[in-house]
Symmetry: C2
């Protein structure tokens, strides 16, 4: 029987594609990781591509400038999660002929400004005509230390995140629930419309590399990212704390949203999820604190086979692997 | 007045985008070149992205496997033109939910096989949902010698191509003229459906690097490529010979097609266009001959301002800059 993408969902499709390339060895990072890495002398060149479809990620009032910023941010976030400092970005722009020139230039300006914000430059790209607005960013970064894979989590490792989640999830939840977005605090809108990849913490990540075992960007959503880490590492993960801030809790209460839903299943947030050797956790927290970043410990890796659990009180339950997925509506 | 892409054409739009990034310095190659290059110790890491929209490049009987082969070939060709050996490819796949899984896997197989054919590996990518089939390949290559820019042509330099043109142009011309494609010689169809980037000549290009002044891939079509070289170098180019083979001439005659049109304006062919120091031309021809590649001298760079002329007999005329262009139908 013929199987179509819409009946299978994005992640099943990705798994089938990865099956075809799993024997590839040219990248230092395994297939399916956030980026590829090419070893060259004392350096690793880290490269990834991230594509966005405008109609799935544009909220009211979001401009093409914001889209340019976002697609470069998505790519920068993957590089940062592998400890690489971004150097060059490329963009590929596919848009309908009815697009105003000014929109294309605004998209480019957003990509230029984001590239600079991350200490890199936009240096080239490609232009095509399509029905949808489909944009890609290619990020090229460097690191002088082994990139951190998704696959390094070991049972007992501490799992931590580099900041609170739920801001973007809450904005999307509000939008889909018919809540006017200007009723939300300005900070939530800013974090959603102009997200920041954690390139700022790459220097400290490189300094504490030996305390870390795994890393991933979280743009797929927190639960999805934890599943990716658990599956790649051959462990399970038990969450015992949600990385939620008081302000996210308060706004959730105000609108009757589930904090668990917006924090765990939001997506399009750009904190990093790290695996940390248990003996080094205090030192790692201290080092992050010294640069003004509060590391939030959310759980532990355990013996297991790629499952993510949530522990609250004495209850432990498996977190369903749901959330946004292409080809499945 | 609001200007739309469809009224401006792809090349005007690209020029406006390049205006925004022309001051970027992170790439060893100037903005607008076939690829970017990052210098790292004794190496240059060369990266590019190429995007194809299926409905503009799929001929009858062309499969998703062919599309996967083609998009990797397009990227490999840009790397080869900069003297880089491809190492890793990434793909980004945006397709409708109604696409059969088997088509996506066939696309991936085509990309895998092309990557291997060029001595590299497909190591990762990205998947998204869109209305059109929009696919990108990111190529990552290495060279231990300065990449050849488009901008190095000097007046007096010989302009040559690495093979005859017109096979693909003729197939597209036949298709748009309503000629059944199975009336064309098998070789024409094969060169069109399963094109080969000239990665095979990268070793010799590196050996003769000091004799060469400029290089570009020709996938935009021969005249467009010559204009790109002339504009980037601040010279003009006078063609005095079409790079046409007897078989292309014969098939053109058979169907009443203009050889000039299919050779000069065809596009989607993957020979390289080279600038060569005049004193070295005999040696360069000899070196290509020794590896079984016939270098075809087609003209000369002259003092001028980015114009391409065709000289036949005593007549010299400016070649119009037309041919396939997105956003302009």
């Amino acid at each position: 029987m013929m199987q179509y993408l819409k009946d299978l969902g994005e992640y099943y499709v990705v798994e089938q594609i990865l099956n075809l390339i799993k024997s590839s060895r040219a990248s230092y990072l395994p297939p399916g990781d956030d980026a590829v890495a090419l070893k060259l002398g004392n350096y690793f060149v880290v490269v990834n591509v991230d594509t966005l479809i405008a109609r799935y990620c544009m909220l009211p009032g979001m401009t093409l400038y914001d889209l340019g910023w976002r697609v470069v941010t998505a790519s920068a976030s993957d590089l940062a999660s592998k400890l690489a400092q971004p150097k060059i970005f490329l963009i590929s722009i596919s848009m309908p002929g009815t697009t105003p020139l000014e929109d294309v230039l605004d998209f480019t300006r957003g990509a230029i400004d984001a590239s600079r914000y991350y200490g890199a430059e936009l240096c080239g790209g490609d232009t095509n005509e399509s029905s949808d607005i489909v944009v890609s960013a290619v990020g090229i970064g460097l690191t002088d230390i082994e990139p951190l894979p998704r696959s390094g989590l070991r049972p007992g490792d501490v799992v931590a995140v580099t900041g609170a989640f739920g801001y973007t999830g809450l904005v999307f939840k509000a939008y889909y629930s018919g809540v006017e977005l200007d009723r939300l605090p300005r900070k939530f809108i800013e974090k959603t419309y102009r997200p920041r990849a954690r390139v700022d913490i790459v220097p400290v990540l490189r300094e504490i590399r030996s305390y870390l075992t795994a890393s991933s960007d979280s743009s797929d959503g927190l639960v999805r990212t934890l599943y990716n880490l658990a599956e790649a590492s051959g462990v399970s993960i038990v969450l015992d704390r949600l990385p939620i801030s008081d302000e996210v809790s308060e706004v959730c209460a105000q609108f009757g949203f589930s904090p668990e839903e917006v924090v765990l299943y939001g997506g399009e947030e750009f904190e990093l999820v790290l695996g940390i050797r248990p003996s080094s956790i205090d030192e790692v927290i201290r080092r992050f604190h010294s640069i003004g970043t509060e590391l939030l410990v959310v759980g532990r890796a355990t013996e297991g086979r790629g499952v993510v659990y949530l522990k609250s009180g004495s209850e432990v339950r498996k977190l369903p692997l749901s959330g946004w997925e292409y080809f499945r509506k």
